[in-house]
Symmetry: C2
Subunit: 429 residues, 2 copies
Amino acid sequence: MIDPVVLKGFRDSLPKDEIPKKRIIRKLEDVFSSFGFVPIDTPVLEYTEVLLGKGGGETDKQIFRFKDNGGRDVAMRFDLTVPFARFMAAHHDDVGVPFRRYHISKVWRGENPQKGRYREFIQCDFDIVGADNAISDAEILSLMHTSFATLGIEHYTFHISHRGLFSLFLSSLDLGDKSIEVLRTVDKLRKIGEEEVKNLLTGITGSEDKAESILSYITAGEGRSFMETLEELEKLSGGESDPSRRMREIYSILSDLGIEKSFVFDPSITRGLDYYTGIVYETFLDDLPSIGSVCSGGRYNDLASLYMKEKTPGVGSSIGLDRLLAALEELKSPLLCDTAAADVLVVPKAGMESEAMKTARELRENGLNVSVYLNPEAKMKKIYAAAESGNIPYLLTFNDADISVKDLRTRETFSYSEALEKIVKDRKN
Amino acid sequence: MIDPVVLKGFRDSLPKDEIPKKRIIRKLEDVFSSFGFVPIDTPVLEYTEVLLGKGGGETDKQIFRFKDNGGRDVAMRFDLTVPFARFMAAHHDDVGVPFRRYHISKVWRGENPQKGRYREFIQCDFDIVGADNAISDAEILSLMHTSFATLGIEHYTFHISHRGLFSLFLSSLDLGDKSIEVLRTVDKLRKIGEEEVKNLLTGITGSEDKAESILSYITAGEGRSFMETLEELEKLSGGESDPSRRMREIYSILSDLGIEKSFVFDPSITRGLDYYTGIVYETFLDDLPSIGSVCSGGRYNDLASLYMKEKTPGVGSSIGLDRLLAALEELKSPLLCDTAAADVLVVPKAGMESEAMKTARELRENGLNVSVYLNPEAKMKKIYAAAESGNIPYLLTFNDADISVKDLRTRETFSYSEALEKIVKDRKN
């Protein structure tokens, strides 16, 4: 016998998890499609050089990398951004720009699994490439807003900032050459707190004054409205600028759309990565702040520089689907509650199997999901257990020519036609 | 610069391919759900031993196998059956039996890519486990029938046979110990023809008479109805038997359901694999016989014997989704035609971006997919090109306060309210 175990950091998805996951993915796909975003897919395996760049990551323990049977150095994708960059370089002319794509798929990282983190997980990315303007930024933010609303999450806040504005501010302090270190330190604010960030910044900048200036910049949003914060940061960064004008334009569109209340200007948001150049954002669930950001991203001025000369500016977001699912579970989202394998369990009588299958077909033609119990010899106890383990609410049985349908939650019994009407109505709600 | 190439045997999926692929997968998922089948997922990577069995496949060049960073011998799944067997052994008690699952996902094989064959491809498997009776067999066959009907394929034929019946026949010829070799040879009938099969069988059985007997068994379906074939095979296999009774029961249910005309009894169908024990079947598209079977499977009496002592009988099918998609393309299926990125392309006027976004939102609230053109400075020529490359049928433009909508296929122009009604109606058809 071989032990039927999965690898450390990997897991099976049982129907009770997979049914709601698929439902949520469909909802997101429908929202993305309604905004004109189109799906793409890319190979799970790519040349390591394509994923990591030349020379890069020789010692990267985080990825699943190996030599294939043809001796090629290959790796499993660790995110969906790098394959998208490669995709755009390969298919730029086929897809045309501005191009909006979404991609919901698995990625793999060999990092040590912690609570709630796995080596195989699902990313959900959506980007607009080939346009650098306020309407594109606002479109991504508006799509994020619609996505969370569609998932039935009531309270969420998008924390936005602008990398370019922060860079202007750092230049005014003569810290332009230290911006990456500063950004990465600021990015830790939520984790390590103000005092520790200040200490680190003093070390980096060599000046307690400068550290304090940075701290007052990144905390400028506290107690201020979006526009007040913007004005304060304009002052700190040397007056009106392209980045501050962009933020004003974006906020104006969000206000016209009436969704501005979900957005706060939070200059402590920097995102660790080098490659953002414009707006950056994270998304927090007000009722579950501890789980961290469930949707993050920002604007970059060149997606595919590794693979092509032409610049591909864009703005994009990534939803960590596993984290979002965990959040929805904690929030007791109705989207996760319905894990029924079917609406009705039809129990055939031995020798009358065809009758059962015909009845099932008729119910399906009315839009219902119907499971035929496939062991006509079973005792009722086993049948009830099957309905329960599949969370199936209705049981249909035959008594000679008569059909009776039982609601297993209320124990009420109905005739076939009563039941059909009721279940179809149940399902529409 | 790094060349943005994909690995040999792999490919990107562009929106024009990915949109219809997702549509077809959703349709199949909806059919499976309507039959009470539930989705599961399993890891892409597993222990090699779990996938190949102990000792097995040391030299198997067909799979992507490597040592991970922790030194584990791992491999990417090469089908969805083996992971399902492992899944059932691990979760038998959680899911309960009879259990119906579907799994639509990618698998990987390192074989040399040929026309229409790739190293990364999508399998679509559905199985019923934990029941061994005619109603389960008929349920799978009925689900296959409904699936193909739902995909709008008009002419398809399921070729079924019964492994147990063939075994009885072979035993009657004293060939019980050679059955695997015989089955594999018979499986080649379509490829190499009767004459060559007869030669090979003569070699295997050591008797031209026996080879001829086998040939008359496997061709007994020619020119005969399902029931006539069954009777003939009963005669050849020594009279009525459990397998022949099972086939009669199945056919009786299919007839009661009125779908028996899509099924032919074809005793040349054996499926190469050892592990089938009951019905076996392949599915051919009558208008495209050359592409081979698009949905195959059968009954096995023990799915998970590698991992558990308890027997798990079942019956299951696998659709080769890439082959099916190629077939639908050749059949000019309407399911593949609609590759529109959106129903409407809304073109903002510079300075009126919010108006465009509000109009887009209103259209979305009517169930439409709407793309906002994200470069308000662009010339009309570029905008038309964008609509064309996204296959978007309607163009909405602003002229001061007026909105006009153009059907790009007919060049007709509509007012906003006329257009909204028309597009919503278009979409419902």
